[in-house]
Symmetry: C2
Subunit: 657 residues, 2 copies
Amino acid sequence: MEDGRVRILFLPENRYITVDRGENLLKAAMLADVHVNASCGGAGSCGKCRVVVEKGEVEREPNPKLSEAEAAQGFALACRTRVLSDLEVRIPLESRIGDKRFFERAEPQPAVGHLLSADEWEKRLPAWEPDPPVRKVHLKLNPPTLDDNTADAERVKRGLAVQEGIRDVVIDYRALQRLPNLLRQSGWDITVTLINTEEERRVVRVEQGDTTGRQSAIAIDVGTTTISAELLDLKSGEVLARASDYNAQVAFGEDVITRIIYATKGTGLAKLQSVVTGTIWNLIVSLVEKSGVEYGDITHLVVAGNTTMTHLLLELNPRYIREEPYIPSATFFPWTKASELGLRIAPGVYLYPIPCVASYVGGDITAGILASGVFNTDKLTLYIDIGTNGEMVLGNREWLLACSCSAGPAFEGGGVKHGMRATRGAIEQVRIDKFNYEPMIITVENHKPVGICGSGLIDALAELFLAGVINEKGKFERDLPTDRVRVTENGAEYVLVRAEDSATRRDIVITEVDIDNLMRAKAAVYAGIEILLSSMDMEVGMVEELLMAGAFGRYLEIDKAVTIGLLPDIGYDRIKFVGNGSLLGAHLAALSRGMLSRTQDIARQMTYLELSKNPDFMEKYVSALFFPHTDLDAFPRVREELERIRSERKLYSEGGG
Amino acid sequence: MEDGRVRILFLPENRYITVDRGENLLKAAMLADVHVNASCGGAGSCGKCRVVVEKGEVEREPNPKLSEAEAAQGFALACRTRVLSDLEVRIPLESRIGDKRFFERAEPQPAVGHLLSADEWEKRLPAWEPDPPVRKVHLKLNPPTLDDNTADAERVKRGLAVQEGIRDVVIDYRALQRLPNLLRQSGWDITVTLINTEEERRVVRVEQGDTTGRQSAIAIDVGTTTISAELLDLKSGEVLARASDYNAQVAFGEDVITRIIYATKGTGLAKLQSVVTGTIWNLIVSLVEKSGVEYGDITHLVVAGNTTMTHLLLELNPRYIREEPYIPSATFFPWTKASELGLRIAPGVYLYPIPCVASYVGGDITAGILASGVFNTDKLTLYIDIGTNGEMVLGNREWLLACSCSAGPAFEGGGVKHGMRATRGAIEQVRIDKFNYEPMIITVENHKPVGICGSGLIDALAELFLAGVINEKGKFERDLPTDRVRVTENGAEYVLVRAEDSATRRDIVITEVDIDNLMRAKAAVYAGIEILLSSMDMEVGMVEELLMAGAFGRYLEIDKAVTIGLLPDIGYDRIKFVGNGSLLGAHLAALSRGMLSRTQDIARQMTYLELSKNPDFMEKYVSALFFPHTDLDAFPRVREELERIRSERKLYSEGGG
């Protein structure tokens, strides 16, 4: 296999999957849609996920549920086993709940789910060389004489003009104040750091000698929930360190609307500004500590965030973002001194906020469109980033059309009885046996389950629907032969984890109310996609590539999302994960002034479609309040899958039921 | 006469002069070179300056030395009399010391001394319309809708582009923060204030409604000794108020060199910066109080100062200005937030420092060259500004050549035994009778004499020389029939004011040492002028116009300055006073972006000639250590005057001696 990837063949299903070396074996099974009993989410406490490693190498974590003698025979607890080489793994009968015979018919096939590799990224972008928007230039100047008595500042400008052809330069006040002594101490041998963009040529720092070999920048994705950052070496373009943390603003409200309301009261805006700056500063400290880079080598920060996050970071009034007609203070932002935002960094360090498009299509989307190369492709591409809001962009190198719909907090675990964010113990993957309705779960960090996060909910919905536990309207079948479905005074619910296996010692359930909330969220996203397409006189089938961005997209299982009708049924091979497109876009803009300038072009060219008052939106939304959709013809693969499962179930009930 | 000017005919001299209505009659006599006894400097205490007003109207200040009966007969004390109309004034014998007969030969002739009038200024400049570099634009914007949901900032930019054709605008952070609420409170009817120059288009303030009718700016001349400021109405271009005060930095040293030394020690620079800002702030308060303009209507400040003053104001390191090869930190400066310099003014108010040329040719000279139209004339012009340093510029619309010489503090009253600045009680004008060597003096504000200021010293030198009290080398003739010249242990001296008439109750004298200091100062200036000319292969006679700038130039009597050889003898009609050219240049740049842009052209185009190492300078300097010069042929009018006086004295001694 190519470097770092290994292939696992699961028996008796005869299904294989390619994963990263070191992957958890239970996760690999789940990705391959191979059912292994697992009730504790991967915590290693139930001992039910026992498998036999028939070929290849694994690393077993010692566990009281598995003796050394058993390990010597090839047994392993899937949830406590890391994959080290290509493998053949057999799922013994006791670790499976269903009958094996149906699986044996399947040909070896790859499981779906494709995160773009670095190479694939590269191909999507136009050729570019590292040429950072903030640049260091080493200057060896002639010392002044009585005959050549140009002032210090003008001598530096002359040097930049003669040596680099850079003209019309402004020198920052602080740099100018330091310049005279520095020039003389250094023997007229200095390095100037300058913002070097089309709009601005500004010397922001001067140093002694040649420091051009030492330059780094930080790319930051300021998400509503999570802030992620990368420290980049500008010579090599390499990522020297990564760090992420919750946005400390979460304490003031989970979603952008709550924060806008907080910001418009009293000193709320200043408070939110200082809090997000605090998180960013902690990340910078962590990046510096991890990488060993010096603070003084950091020359600039590039930040991508949604429109509200960008406003709050810059302490701009966000109030009118949430009031019709939804107008931000600004969508383009100048280079801003990081120290003026409260970051305790040298005064010569500037921050560039990636431009936004509209109140609900922010710099994170602009950055994602840059990073994923949508602006550079001939293919009709649909770019989707789902969080509290779903942002969708349709287009190619010729045009870009964007919209946003309020998905509500359901996909982030909000408004769902046992919903939670994707933190430790959150159920992130779910399988439900189509015959006996028993669940298989994996939790974040393999801890005992605490609740369910967004991707787990979508999995659960899709699986409950495919297993026939819920119908097209999202209502439970109440007469199934399982005690997992039960009726309470608030309606029916499905018990995903029983109290004895949960970290909370209470049952973890999915209710009809939860399903209703999720149904409305997915309907809004799908209706948004349809509006984008119809406003261009296009249809779903014409989409050549669908790119899923965002942390949610990273863990989402595409086929499950298609099954419930969140994503259009356009063929799994056309769907790719872009991971954190916002961070990657900020990363590119930090390395290349050409890329930075593209973010401006993208934000300027993108047309924003306001859905809230679109007369067709409501109609399309109502049609989407179905699993997968009222128009099943638009979901051929889902129909096929449903038919396959029905026939399997029929065979099963005829054969051994 | 033309408005505000009156003509006075003095009898029996038969000499007339044109002065402003309201002028002091003693001053008028002095300007006309008509001798009136005056020992108390115009304080009204000696009663010796009695004259007869034969025709015309005057205003007499009541004085115990003049009875009402005498006033009714036409008598007046010249020093306590204001001129109200054209006059004929007779100087009675008792008010004159010399014999009258020599004067009677003179034809009526105008006295010299010509301060350019506003009209004359106007003619020197290219046509320009008020079009301030900081401009207010009234915008009535369309409110946003769901279909036109451009962000607030971009809506304002769009308005500026559509309505005014102003593009690539940056909006200042503070203005941007206020923008959203302001737009909505104002009903989308706002006035934006923007810096609108070639290099920069920056919105610095936003206000509700149309405030374009209210805009003012402040022009400031930051002198080493005095700071002068004008508050300008930008609609009419009128000066609404004027104020000036001593630069509070004087407490830290009288000249720029002392201040540079102070600035390079410890926190000296910050101290000097805050002190000059304090003086400027006091002037702003005073201008606002005088004019009734609101602080909020002030949109910008334009400052002209010498290179050191500009550095100290901006807190830039001035150290290398005084160390060979004399290099400033910068000569061009960006628009700077006034609040960042410590001025307690709105954050949207920016300050523009007029660019400098070199360490000793500053923004004050650039401004003066602008204001006096030297950059716009075909005439070969010599522009001179004398203070502690003498700055000289030679050129025309094609080229400009500048130099600076250290004149020493003598012209500002320093290094002279009874020297003082031109404050109350300073002797500013002096006449010495050619026959009996008695002086006639006028003091600043007509108070009892305290000491002698620069213009008084030059007068005294010229008069002592013409009267034959000192010789060409500046040494006293020790055998004259007067007790005014006496020899002390430190050399000879002339008693200008006797103890009984002085405010200090001590004699006020001019010593040989004083004369030696002044001789060296004037020699340096004249040698500088010669170097400028010779480096262009030109001669003094080719200078078509000589412009004297600065406070010193304002009070200087041209013929006296020529007599001692400070200024070249090019014909008095070619010599003009420009007054405070620095302030007037700042004034023009505050009103017109075209004029402001010219200051940059001027600073860029002016060639600076360093005198200190020029091999010819020393030779020319030594030749100038003579009254008026070793080469008397270069001073034909002075030679003529000397010959006339000698023949008069001969006649006098023959006739009545």
